[in-house]
């Protein structure tokens, strides 16, 4: 009872269901002042849902929310914000058409009155300086003009900013997914400082070492329940994976160097820096700090190889989106239609869609890549973020295109699924498929045969074989910074 | 002497055969006048969207272009008053016709639309003394000509109470709209003996009625060639009788000559009246022969005609 009295937020036995899906099946979660709670679980475990409950966006169908020992009957977004609950959502939740200052105005409702621009600028700049020292972001810029990493930095700083009501509990739902290692480091350091000063943090991430080193306590969720809860030192990487219930083979070891030079050239592209080439069966990583031209290269490769006017009979490339809201999912469609759209050419005769074959193929891939849904005819938006990503993966892999372009596709995919996907990629590569893979995660870069490192829009280094390691990549990423 | 004077035609709409005939007449008559050196220029301007605001801007541009007179077929009798006033203040002669304006500084060559509507019922009362049910096809709602003709028709019905208007639809002065509106109301109407119209919609009504098994009532026509031709066919076949009435598109040329006379220093009354052009059973053939295929029955005016009209108004 004493614990409940002290808790910043205490959720008791919360139950939430969406139709037949029990997103939360009796979750109890308490967050004490001055602690960072790590929240992990497979895709669709219910993490985002409990976040919605805590920030007031969703009223649980059963259970209660209490704060500072007081049971809150009419809990909502405004009540949460008044108690200092702040949230960083995984997808962009800033207004891209507004400047950073104006977004600050939106986020802080009570900032109004004459001269709010000056005050808002001060608030957000103070916070940016505190979380990401040396960020170099001008608060007058429109959010739409920022790179995805910069947006995420702004969003994180926004959550930690203080405009009257000091933040007490900051919820971070996969905040580092678009940040490179150094920015992620800065953020995690700030989380520790914030916690040390008495604040509370709920930290959700699929990057387990971040969770392990930053959290005080780790809560593991599975299928809408809390299945393990212990102080962080009580877990190690392996234990955490086990608790999440994923039977993952811990196999992030580097690929054995294969004899590649004999393979035929399949794709080449003139870039501003070093020339880009890809051989058949290769897995190529595009590395470097986030937002330095990797996505642009992928888009250019895709644009160069696909016709905008006539359908391609045998497309050379296919694409897995990372920013799925922007260029991935078709929101009105079922999972099946979302899956089949890229390979529809193979599922038609004289332009007519062969519904049975589409169905068969869909069911096949649902099984292969374990999409968590009772029925492929459900709407794509009924899937959790990670499962939507899997559908996009299946969409690309199901085509016959020999080259797969991947734009940081593992954002928000849980560890177990990642391992499965890695295995599929390796298998497909062995059969002669080429993967061109932009990733912000070093573990993934290390899986590749060859790495192009980007710096300011150009390829500045090419690493292959044993040279593919963290030190070399970081060195290449920061090359020329001093110059 | 008006040989140095420039006259402009401000026209609000070109989207039907009547307006096209009007523009053609203008081009023909003023072209000769310019060639003969009577006036220096007579340029026609048409707005794209049949809107008063657009036409007001057009008139303001004409002021800037330095025209001496503006001949005006207005989109609205009142909404152009501001622009017309500005033209007058700039010393420009404004002569409105067909769609006239109420601004006192402008001249008006008007057709008595009310009388036109009334005369339709009067004709019917002579042809069908026992009376009966009428269907009224109106024009475009909110436009003054529509209101005037309709008021005239209702006056006529008051005068000849043996008639009763049992249905009223808006045909927007377009054959296809009229056809559609009539087809929609027809099934629920009792027997009708006559259809009173505003011009440009008689053929559409005939088509709609022909599609049912009703007896063809007396449809007042609007001088379009297709209406006259249909009437001729019916007349030859079944002795069908009716009349046709409308304003002649060539009235634009009368307005042109009136403007020229005013520029020439003539004393002209602000309000002139032109008779509408009426075709009856006996002069149908001659009128039909004089009408261009697909066009509208027309009369063009000369300078002498204009002087006569001006004199008779005094």
């Amino acid at each position: 009872m004493n614990e409940v009295l002290k808790a910043v937020i205490a959720v008791d036995d919360a139950k939430v269901s969406f139709g037949a899906v029990k997103a939360l099946d009796g979750v109890t979660l308490r967050v004490m002042p001055g602690e960072c709670v790590g929240l992990v679980g497979h895709n669709g475990a219910g993490k985002s849902t409990i976040v919605s409950v805590i920030n007031g966006g969703l009223t649980p169908h059963e259970g209660s929310v209490a704060s500072d020992g007081e049971r809150l009957e009419r809990y909502g977004i405004n009540a949460a914000r008044a108690r200092g609950v702040r949230c960083v959502f995984q997808e962009l939740s800033l207004c891209p058409n507004l400047s950073i200052v104006e977004n600050t105005r939106i986020m802080h409702r009570h900032l109004g009155g004459f001269g709010w621009r000056r005050r808002a600028a001060k608030i957000i700049e103070t916070s940016l300086d505190a979380v990401f020292p040396g960020h170099g972001i001008d608060s007058g810029r429109a959010v739409g003009d920022l790179s995805i990493a910069e947006r995420q930095m702004v969003e994180i700083s926004m959550a930690f900013s203080n405009a009257g009501v000091a933040p007490r509990l900051v919820i971070l739902d996969e905040p580092t997914s678009s940040l490179d290692a150094s920015l992620a480091r800065q953020m995690l350091d700030h989380v520790r400082r914030f916690v040390a000063a008495g604040g509370s943090v709920i930290f959700i991430s699929h990057i387990l070492h971040e969770i392990l080193e930053t959290s005080d306590r780790i809560v593991v969720m599975k299928d809408g329940r809390v299945v393990a809860e212990r102080p962080a030192p009580g877990f190690d990487h392996h234990g955490l994976v086990e608790a999440m219930g994923t039977v993952a083979k811990e196999e992030t070891a580097q690929r054995s160097t294969r004899e590649q030079s004999t393979a035929p050239l399949i794709l080449s592209h003139q870039t501003k820096g070093l020339p880009f080439t890809a051989l058949k069966g290769e897995i190529i990583a595009l590395a470097g700090l986030a937002g330095h031209g990797q996505t642009e290269l992928l888009l250019a490769l895709h644009a160069a190889q696909s016709g905008a006017w006539l359908p391609e009979r045998d497309p050379l490339v296919t694409f897995v989106a990372g920013d799925r809201r922007l260029n991935g999912v078709f929101e009105l469609w079922s999972i099946l239609r979302n899956f089949s759209i890229a390979s529809l050419g193979d599922l038609t005769r004289h332009g007519l869609i062969l519904a049975d074959e589409e169905q068969t193929k869909g069911v096949d891939w649902k099984r292969r890549i374990e999409i968590r849904t009772p029925d492929m005819a459900n709407r794509i938006l009924s899937l959790s973020g990670g499962n939507q990503q899997k559908v996009l993966f299946a969409r690309a892999l199901a085509t016959r295109a020999p080259v797969v372009l991947m734009d940081d596709p593992m954002r928000g995919v849980d560890v177990g699924t990642k391992q499965e996907v890695y295995a599929i990629i390796r298998e497909e590569a062995a059969h002669g498929r080429t993967f061109i893979w932009y990733s912000t995660e070093m573990d993934e870069v290390r899986l590749c045969d060859r790495v192009y490192v980007f710096r300011e829009g150009r390829i500045t280094a090419e690493l292959a074989g044993d040279a593919v390691n963290e030190t070399n990549i970081i060195a290449a990423s920061f090359e020329g910074v001093a110059a | 002497d008006t040989s140095a004077k420039k006259i402009a035609l401000s026209n609000n709409y070109a989207g039907n055969s009547w307006r096209q005939a009007m523009l053609t007449s203008w081009g023909k008559v003023t072209g000769e006048a310019v060639k003969a050196g009577t006036v220096a220029a007579a340029d026609p301007f048409t707005t794209a969207e049949n809107q008063a605001t657009e036409q007001a801007a057009q008139i303001q541009n004409m002021i800037l272009q330095g025209y001496d007179a503006i001949v005006l077929n207005a989109a609205s009798p009142t909404a152009l008053n501001g622009a017309v006033k500005e033209a007058c203040d700039a010393g420009i002669t404004v002569v409105s016709f067909d769609g006239i304006v109420t601004e006192p500084c402008a001249w008006r060559i008007a057709v008595n639309f009310k009388e036109m509507g009334r005369s339709e019922v009067e004709y019917l009362s002579q042809k069908l003394p026992q009376g009966g049910n009428l269907l009224e096809i109106r024009g475009l709602a909110g436009v003054f000509v529509d209101d005037e003709i309709s008021a005239g028709i209702h006056d006529g019905v008051k005068q000849y109470p043996q008639f009763k208007v049992v249905g009223s639809v808006h045909g927007d002065w377009a054959q296809d709209v009229a056809q559609k509106a009539v087809a929609g109301i027809l099934p629920s109407l009792p027997d009708i003996v006559g259809v009173v119209t505003q011009g440009g919609d008689g053929y559409g009504a005939a088509q709609a009625i022909a599609a049912t098994d009703r007896k063809m009532p007396t449809i007042i026509m609007g001088n379009r060639e297709d209406e006259l031709k249909w009437w001729k066919e019916q007349k030859d076949g079944k002795g069908y009788e009716t009349m046709s009435v409308s304003i002649a598109p060539g009235v634009s040329t009368l307005a042109f000559w009136v403007a020229q006379q005013i520029l020439d220093g003539k004393e002209v009354k602000k309000d002139l009246v032109v008779p509408f052009l009426r075709i009856d059973q006996d002069n149908l053939e001659t009128n039909l022969a004089n009408t261009q295929a697909g066009g509208v029955a027309n009369v063009e005016y000369t300078q002498a005609d204009a002087i006569k009209v001006i004199e008779s108004a005094k």
Binding site: N327, F330, L332 | -
Partner: protein, 315 residues
């Protein structure tokens, strides 16, 4: 869920219910005596709205901002030129139809060229285009009304087994449209593009080609509608399409097609077209004046969308 209840989830049901109600209220004035006449008239005139509406629906499906305002002008131009070419000769019926279709293709090409090459938003591109097309129609024969060939006039104004021929033509076109949307890869493509153009591009869909074909299709349907309407009403008039500007949009949106794109609906177009005709007939029949008639039409449109839209949001 019972089948009947499932029916209420369909976005098109509301336009049909509305049409049926209005139809019923109208025939009740004559205690049913006008049933056949009214139904035939409704089918006839709905047919034209259906044909232009289907084209407009394909364009609207392409996503926010996609709309074709050149429909009326295209109808006018196609009708004018085709009738002029046919010149009342029965032998020229087919060439007349062909020239109408070709004109549709040209307008569609022009529309998409403006949209693609000059990056002009469709609403303005097609509006500009419509002015040019309207001018072209004026220029061709200055609004003279030429009669259609007798066979064609006969065909468009008569019935087969009590069903108006134009309605049969519209039905065939609707079936084609339904088939394209539901059964072919092209239908999937336009729906995908309507939901997200970047996503469609990245999924390997030939976005420009698909959009181009769609604008062509819309313009061709408008041209065909213009051709039929000109023959039906005994000659092309310069203002004959103007009614179909609002009409083509109204029947699409009342019919339950998503205005934001990606989701189209063929049956709804029929319901909405019948409704739009019948509501005017009903108000005319009840002798309501123009002002009240307009207000009622507006309120009915809003009520229909409230019923339909509200349900969908709740699902």
């Amino acid at each position: 869920m019972t089948p009947l209840f499932g029916l209420f989830g369909k976005p098109w049901i509301w336009s049909w219910l509305a049409a049926f109600t209005v139809w019923f209220l109208t025939i009740m004035v004559t205690l049913g005596a006008s049933t056949l006449g009214l139904s035939q008239a409704a089918l006839t005139f709905a047919a034209f709205s259906v044909i232009v509406g289907i084209g407009q629906m394909f364009v609207i499906t392409l996503g926010p901002g996609n709309i074709d305002l050149s429909v009326p002008a295209t109808m006018t131009l196609a009708g004018t030129v085709a009738l002029k070419l046919m010149n009342v000769e029965n032998g020229m019926i087919l060439p007349g139809l062909l020239i109408a279709i070709v004109l549709g293709l040209v307008v569609g090409l022009g529309n998409y060229a403006l949209i693609k090459v000059l990056r002009i938003p469709p609403i303005i591109a097609t509006l500009s285009m419509s002015f040019i097309v309207q001018s072209a129609a004026i220029w061709t024969n200055r609004g003279l009304r030429i009669k259609p060939p007798t066979m064609l006039a006969e065909f468009t104004t008569s019935n087969t087994l009590g069903v108006p021929n134009v309605a049969i033509v519209a039905l065939l076109i609707s079936l084609l449209a339904w088939f394209l949307l539901e059964k072919t890869i092209y239908g999937r493509w336009i729906s995908a593009i309507g939901q997200s153009m970047p996503a469609a591009r990245m999924a390997g869909i030939p976005v420009d080609g698909t959009r181009f074909v769609t604008y062509l299709f819309c313009a061709v349907l408008a041209a065909v509608a213009g051709y039929l309407l000109a023959c039906f009403s005994g000659g092309a008039a310069l203002n004959m399409g103007s009614e179909y500007l609002l009409m083509s949009i109204a029947v699409v949106v009342i019919g339950g097609t998503a205005v934001a794109g990606g989701d189209s609906n063929v049956p709804g177009i029929w319901g909405a077209s019948l409704f739009m005709f019948l509501v005017v007939s009903m108000l005319n029949t009840y002798g309501v004046g123009a002002g009240i008639r307009l207000i009622m039409t507006g309120l009915i449109i809003i009520s229909v969308i409230m019923l339909a839209g509200g349900r969908r949001a709740g699902m």
